[in-house]
Amino acid sequence: MTLAWLIAIPLGGAVLAWLAGGFAGPWPRLIALAALALDLALALSLCWNHPLSLALPGNDSWLMRLDLPWIPRFGISLLLAVDGLSLILVLLTLVLGLVSVAASWTEIRARVGFFHFNLLATLAGVIGVFLALDLFLFFFFWEVMLIPMYFLIGIWGHENRVYSTLKFFIFTQASGLLMLLSIVALALVHQRQSGVLSFSYFDLLGTSLAPDSALLLMLGFFLAFAVKLPMVPFHTWLPDAHTDAPSAGSVILAGVLLKSGAYGLLRFITPLFPEAAAQFTPVVMALAVIGILYGGLVAFAQSDFKRLVAYTSISHMGFVLLGVFAWNELALQGVVVQIIAHGLSTGALFIIAGALQERLHTRELARMGGGIWSLAPRLSAVGLFFALASLGLPGLANFIGEFLVLAGAYQTSAGVTAVAAAGLVVAAIYALWLVQQAFHGVAPQGLALADLDAREMTVLGVMIGLVVWLGVNPQPVLNLAAPALDGLQQLANI
């Protein structure tokens, strides 16, 4: 039941926060913090309660499983399970959830209760995505997480929010539809073979498919995940959505929602369709490398802080895609680290962008005029730190992710990896350009700017700590993920 509670606590918190919105005071924020902290404690207890299965290689990689009937007539059940991979992602979701509640403490002043309802509902949906192993249930949560996100951007967003939310919604919804078609088709094929209609991941794993239909079904899944990731050329919703989202929305979007795409790629594509995925690998790896370089180059030209960071996300997610399709231990571990590192570093950059916007009422780098360092040294130093994390400085988390991905990808395709390494140069160009434009230079006359206060410093300090810790000691995460990734690789070898 713990798994159900993991989803139920944020949902309950969401409803409570909405109700508390009617009272004066920071009740919705406190309720949201409490719910997420409780959930985080629950998730952490899972880590500690299962040290044995984590340590034993070759053991079943699932830590816990919950199977309740839902719509038995169609073979649909409430099948939740958690392994190291899911657990890491759930932890990341909850940490970033806490961060985004704290980051929107002063930014969000309108309809506070409803804001936190949407925030927590999205998080509950995402956690559901990470835990659900019934494909129908997975799709259900996949949709559940979108709608509150739609409101988060649409109600509390910036200037162009109507356009952005619509774009976000159409992209994700259309691609989700393709996935639904694939899910249903896969279940039907499985039924024709085994006589049992089931949407369970475990039942569908061994389904044998004709090569053509396998490729088609895989594409259905792949497109849904690729749009979410996002992969070039399906990335254009992301900069718009990020630019117009409130800080918390951006943090959740970059830190968690994109990761649901990465998670889907890891969990479903290769295990369900090993041959089709292998056949498709060269195309995807090429697209991944294009994404790494293209995202970086476009980021360099942006004049909007958040838009720039959004394009860096696309570049970073290219590494994730590269790693997933390289499909060996190094690369997959790299993907996991990269997912966490990107969630933290990009999330922090969005918080900084939000802090700047709150103070200066603009996101345009040109209008910031630079020179912020002399006015707000803490803010600038933190910004510099996360820009450096973003460019993959060794000793910080992103480097571990990128290095492992490249090391794994090198074993699959040396040429592609060499081109991807050029992404490091591009990353240096855009990250330093961002620092130069935002923080360096001479401050305009008469510009007054408050430095980060204690609340912001705490949030960002925790994130800095995590990024450094992961950069010099990634082993706990690697150990946690190892059995799960091992299990996935064995599935794909059947």
């Binding site: 254009t236 190094l330 040396a414 990896t417 230079g441």
Partner: protein, 632 residues
Amino acid sequence: MIYDALWLVPLLPLIGFVCLTLLGGWLSRRAMAVLGVGSVALATALAFTIGYTFLTRPPATGHCTEVIGSWLAVGNLHVRFGLYLDALALVMMLVVTGVGLLIHLYSATFMAADSGYRRYFAYLNLFVASMLMLVLADNLLLLYLGWEMVGLCSYLLIGHDYADPVNGRAARKAFVVTRIGDAALLVGLLLLLAHWGTLQIQPLLGLAAQGWANGSALATVAAALLLTGAVGKSAQLPLQVWLPDAMAGPTPVSALIHAATMVTAGVYLIARLHTLFELAPAVQHAVAALGALTLLLASCSALLQRDIKRILAYSTISQIGYMFLALGVGAYAAALFHLMTHACFKAVLFLSAGVVINALDEEHDIYHMGGLGRQLPGTSLAFLTGAASLAALPLVSAGFYSKGLILAQTWNAPGMGVWLWTGGILGTLLTAIYIFRAFFVAFLGRPKSHARCGATAAEAVALVVLAALSVTAGFVEIPAGLGGGVQAFTGLVASALPPGPQPAHTGNLPALLELIASLTAVAGVLTAYYFFRYRPPAATAAGAHPITAAVGRLWQSGWGFDWAYERLFVRPLVMFTRANRHDAVDALFTGIAAGSRALHRGLSRTQTGRVRWYAAGIACGSFILIALMVLP
């Protein structure tokens, strides 16, 4: 054992960095200086203690290893925080801590007026820690960590005065250009990892030496990638363009990072991985050729600079060219020896230049100086010592012994040794000319400006020590041709590096070569004296001819590399990204949206509100439908 404390050497400056960063707000400037200099001083003391132990009671195997902890372990890949100390690492460690300490000391008063005092010391401490990590790392990933971190510190310190966008641009240029090399280095690491399954340097070299045939394609590719990394970091052709611009940073930074230590990391890398380069003779020849070419081109550029720091910057490029030349012919000890002496004399040149610049209110142009010898006698003497050492004036300068060793071994190198030697000799001549041009113009003659102040006590200490070293550091290695036959340095590093090319001939040849080198250096000084002191109009006249003027402009602009790169890479890239600011891919989707909107507008025009029009539409539709069904 004292070796067990090795990990404290990089850790102490790191602690200094962390304290300065976290506690900075509560510290007085004095406390900052104490913390910044003190942490490095402790590390230096420890390093020299370890060095002393190493010399008196060397470890049995010639090296010692210390593992602090594990970094990451995935599958077969195990990377640890491990330190490896052998003679090569020891020399580098002593250079970094020694020169580093003196420059910290110098900075304590030199930067006193700077508003970013805490930031400066924090970055400088971080640099020393990273550089030590680089030279002590026992695996390539940790080396890469140090490699990138020193690049970062270089970026941060060049752009220390962030108010001026020019500094920011120079800093970014330095970081991005070196990162091109770094990316190649990383790919090289991946190649080595993929083939040998480890990044531990010593086991890796052992495996590669056994597994790869001499001159095999993979070894060549790996060595070429590593070379690209080294070339980027050490500002050799064709990635040398960042170093002259890097002089935008504070002068002590130029001395420490862009002369004495960081830029020599490439030399260290090649020396450390010399086994791989020996497996790829083509690449090793390229190292020598690149070195020779770089030293000549950079010397020519240095001849015509007016900014004193740019003269020294080009001189650094050129001197590292010597080291590459030595590495390329297998004279690793000679390269390392020159690295050491160069760190001393280049540091003293930069630091004395810093005093001058400070005294003249940020005046960089040597033609606006003059007569400083009388105003700032001590500083001028220090500069002269450094200049003599750089020019390799015979017998009394450290540079003479190190450069002489390089030239002697280059001559002995098989193949194109003689040509490379000729290049080296030509470089010696040019070196003597350009550095003494600077000296004669800036320090002798009629005073053109008033020196505000001299060196402070802390600055003076640094200058004196370094000047003394630029004279004496060479005496540890006196060539047989001069009768001394002292081989303390090569003897020390013999445990870590193979001996250089041995002379094929004996007899008077070594002595003759020394003589030629000495005479060349002296000739260079005399040439400089003639043109810039005795008869300056001659120099003006020589530069007035259209051809020499054109050549001069070319040389002064660093052979037009910046010009070409600007047009070949920077502008197309910027133009492409500017043009694509709104993301061309989005046009695909906005196109779909616009198409459906246009369709909507077209179709909504049919909604006229006329009932009969609709009826006609229905009739047409049924006509067409029936036609489709009836007609085959």
